[in-house]
Structures are given as C-alpha cells and as structure tokens.
Amino acid sequence: MKAVRAVFALAALAVAPSLLAQGPTADGIAKYRAALQDGNPAELWEGRGEALWKQERGPKQVSLERCDLGLGAGVVKGAYAQLPRYFTDADRVMDLETRLVWCMVTLQGYTEADAKKNPFGSGNDRKSDLEALTAYITSESRGVKMNVPMRHAKEAEAYRVGEKLFYFRGGTHDFACATCHSEEGKRIRLQDLPNLTTAEGAQKAYTTWPAYRVSQGELRTFEWRLYDCFRQQRFPELVFGSDVAIALTMFLARNANGAPFDAPAIKR
C-alpha cells in the first residue's frame, strides 16, 4: 500500500502541462463559432412559435395570447427574463415550459398529457410546438436583464433545492452537475464548460439557451439542456416539467440575474 501511495505522490508532481489547450485549436474554434453567428436557424423556430402563439388551437379554439407568463395576461416582452417564478393560480414555481403547458391546458383545453407529449422535437415529422413557442417567447426577452424574483417562500425553496441537486452525485459514473460545472476554464473535449457556481458562469450559460444546436439541427430549450445533461450523467430520464427541472432552472436562472438575456443562440 505504501508503494502505491508513494507513486501517487510522484504522479501528482509529474503532471505535464497541456500545450494544446490554448493556441491554434482554440483560435480556430473561436473563428468557427464567430462564423456561425451570422444566420441562426433558431429564427425558423421563432417564426413558427409566434404563429402558434397567435393561432386559435386546442379543444377550445383559442390562442395563447391571454396566457399569463408572469407579467400579466398576454405580456410576452421580457417575460422570460423573470422566470421561473411562483404563480398563485397554480400554487407552484414554474419555468416557461411548465407555464406554457399550464396555459395550453387551462386556456386551450388540452389535456396535460397532450400538451407535453412532445417536449423535444426531432426532424420534420416530430416538430415540437413547445420548442417553437419557447423560441418565440425567449426571443422577446433578448437584451432584457435577467431578473428572476425570490420574493415568495416557494421561490426561495426552489432555489435551495436546486442548489442541493446541483451537487447530487449518483449513477454509474458518480457524476453531479458540479462534476463538469464548478471549476473555471475547463472543457469536455473541445467544449468549454461554464462554471455555474459563479454569477459570471451562470450568466454566460443561462442567457444563451435556448440554442440551435448545429450538431443536431434542432432548437433546444433549457429543459432539454437539463434533460440531456442528466442523460450524459448516466441518470434515468428527467421528467419534463418536474420539480428537479424547475428547481435547477431556478438555481441557475437566479444566479444569472443582472445579465442581459441573449438567446435563442447558436451552438455547436
């Protein structure tokens, strides 16, 4: 055992500095990302979402234009920058996607199951209305400073629970959100990882979702981001609109307060 320990001590000293972490590769990737900014296919989702918002749909054949996203019935501008938040009518903290489902049920008469049956679209045959609506509504907060409230006890509780969940390790690989997102300047492969425990890191990450993912050719929402993080954490499947999804969103959105919202974005 002693020998093993000794070797470990030696190993720790002998870590070779990484030369390729900066330099031409990082420069090249930065240029690639810059070149993508001019023309974001997320706009296609925004357009479809705006049409869906205004369209009379569902069993009751009404539009979502009277949906209260927190700033009053029908107010879209800036609404996303103040979500998640506590809603008295639902007696629950809700993120945007959960609130949209609520409005589809209460205003348009959909069943809850119908409203959330396709949260994450794939391809032409399975376009997600929720993603399109989210793209539109978030686009109406572009440039608005994040200002997630913490007035209600349930908002504070969601934040604390979210923080707790951020550090929860589990699964086959012992991964938590914190495994990848609690240190500065780290990467997975070439993908930069935001440090979500700092305001700066949370701001940079949270304000750039939803995003058009060029690797998938799809627009992805923040709920999807959480869903797919947990998949890669080797956890079971995160339920759409669940308490964990909302609490983590609350934790990160609130940490992002003060920064201008800047999405839908475009990412690798």
């Binding site: 023309g39 974001n40 296919p41 706009e43 296609l44 357009g47 479809r48 058009y212 050719g217």
Partner: protein, 103 residues
C-alpha cells in the same frame, strides 16, 4: 408543408444583401434509422432568388448543404421596397416560395 423561410434583404450603399434561412431536413441518404434502415435522401436541389422578378442568383444543391440551409449574397441595383422572392424545390418535388421587401 415546410415552414416559411426567414428572409432578410437590406441595401448597403449600392448593393443589396440577401440572407435567407430555409427549413429543410437536407437528409443525405447516408444515414440509418434506429432499425438500421437507410433514411432516403431528401434535400433541396434548386434555389432561385429573384428581385422584382429578375433572377439574381440560382443554385443547385446536393446533399452536403447543411440542414436548415443558410445562404447569403449581394447584388447591385436593389432599392428599398423592391420585392425579393426566393423559391426552392427539393428532390421529392416539394417546393416553397417566400417573399420579402428590401429594407
């Protein structure tokens, strides 16, 4: 039915810049689905951009153009309020035309 294109056209000095995003799968025909079946190629083959009815760009595309294609170019002579129309047709014969006016 494909979603509408998002077209931007704006004059900058004597030239007009046109930028367009199209909603299309641009399936290569090389991929397989979960059951191991090849997903057939499905892609835009032709694009024509007209300015007040006159062709200012035409293109032929193969399967290597990215999903949800983006295209940008400039032409001379456009003025605010002129009509820009963009049409595409894919290998299934689906087509779509959208219009905008130069801003």
């Amino acid at each position: 039915m494909a979603d509408p294109m998002r077209i931007r056209a704006a004059t900058l000095g004597d030239s007009t810049e046109v930028k367009v995003l199209m909603s299309h799968e641009m399936e290569t025909g090389q991929r397989k689905d979960a059951q191991g079946q090849t997903i057939p190629a499905w892609f835009i083959q032709n694009v024509i951009v007209t300015w007040n009815g006159r062709t200012v760009l035409s293109a032929q595309w193969g399967t290597a153009v990215s999903k949800n294609p983006f295209l940008s170019f400039k032409f001379k002579g456009g003025a605010k309020g002129d009509k820009i129309a963009i049409s595409w047709m894919d290998n299934r014969g689906d087509k779509r035309t959208d219009e905008t006016v130069i801003a």
